[in-house]
Symmetry: C2
Subunit: 255 residues, 2 copies
């Protein structure tokens, strides 16, 4: 199994604090040592870092911890291999283009006997069930909506149906973003928090590190963090319901 | 205008020496300061680094110079913006998936009144003529060959036709790789060299740096470097003919 981390904000924000705690689980406080990856949207562009070294050992992870990339949508993943060998092409997040936008996807879980028919529009490069599910999702979205991107509520309805169908093959916690919204589906475990004014101090559960967000934010900032297991010990994380899909826009979940 | 750098090898090789000279042109010895990027194939996976800072100032470029990533196919690009603003989504190389493989593309030049009809299978995210040309190339390859990837000679014939047609709209020096072969089309300027046994010392033209390849290679290694302008002062670079497409496999050009 793997762990997921997502961030959705109303202004570009750096994820250094949350990533530091999360990366620690990649080989130090947890067993997720078979590679990791992180994708940052910057406008419509994507900066993707993937590595098949553990997040603890990776010089690229070290760079990210020191180099605060500002982004409104981030998805990160640390991997404990279940299907697919430890190789770069099997590292999440995966990226594809649909409707002239990049889509970033990461998955936690394991699908059994999941073998959808692919029409060739999106095909996996690696050998994971995760990339296969991503390709299937995009294919089905394109089938439903053709060449014209739907609005976020219509996308949410479609993704709710599709993710439930895929989750019937096993465990399918997933995050998906096109740079404007972040969709998160909970099949077994997923938590989120919205940080907004008045900001307070947060203390990482995986490393002896605190940050006082009131010192690094403005009153208008709003940041949603979505993660497999809560990252801090002194904040009130919300658990997703099993089977629930949430969409985050501008740092908060849409109703 | 921009500059291109490609590497194709028979064994995974690091590009630190050539990239060091090439990156110097990104803002120091030359005017290509509007972003840069580099893509490394590792097996079928791709590691892509793009930045809209100049290659001289970028901490990510610094990482690459210090962290020898081993790859058989690399494409790098430094940008002097002609079309499209300076933004992450306009940085080369661009990556798309076709036939279950990633394709990496970079372009040097400028296309005028190039407005092909796109069917929606591949659409640009940014606003460059380059990404538009890449999407059109992949669309046309998929139209010709359907869902089954052709062999390299058949691909070369198709790409020769397509790149000549695109080049009729302006300047179209380009590099394209699927991780097994590297295709390079010369519209105005492109050079290459094949380094193989007996290896000798090479001296960078942009920086006071030499490397004795005989100390870091085995007799079986073979490396082709393809670049806009020769990188070293003491080696014999070959100029492409205008309109020529070459395909490099295992460190040498195919006939």
């Amino acid at each position: 199994m793997c762990q997921l981390l997502g961030m959705n904000c109303n202004v570009p924000t750096d994820i250094v604090f949350s990533f530091t705690g999360f990366a620690t689980r990649g080989g130090l406080t947890d067993e997720h040592k078979d590679g990791w990856g992180i994708a940052f949207f910057e406008g419509t562009g994507v900066r993707l870092f993937v590595d098949h070294q553990s997040a603890v050992a990776s010089p690229v992870a070290e760079l990210i911890k020191r180099y605060p990339i500002q982004s409104k949508n981030v998805i990160a993943h640390i991997r404990k291999a279940t299907q697919g060998q430890v190789a770069l092409e099997n590292c999440h997040p995966f990226v594809r283009e649909l409707w002239g936008r990049y889509w970033v996807f990461a998955h936690n879980g394991d699908l059994k006997n999941f073998a959808p028919v692919l029409d060739g529009a999106f095909r996996p490069v690696g050998t994971t069930d995760s990339e296969l599910a991503f390709c299937y999702l995009l294919q089905e979205l394109r089938k439903r909506f053709g060449n014209v991107a739907p609005d976020t509520p219509a996308l949410k309805i479609a993704l709710d149906e599709l993710t439930r169908a895929i989750a019937s093959y096993g465990v399918f916690n997933m995050m998906l973003s096109d740079g404007s919204a972040l969709f998160a589906h909970c099949s077994t475990r997923l938590h989120y928090i919205v940080r907004q004014y008045p900001f307070e101090e947060a203390k990482l559960s995986d490393e002896d590190l605190s940050v006082d967000f009131s010192e690094v934010t403005t009153p208008n900032d709003r940041v949603a963090i979505i993660v497999t297991e809560p990252l801090t010990t002194n904040e009130n994380w919300h658990a997703f319901s099993v089977g629930e899909l949430k969409v985050f826009v501008d740092g908060k979940p849409l109703n």
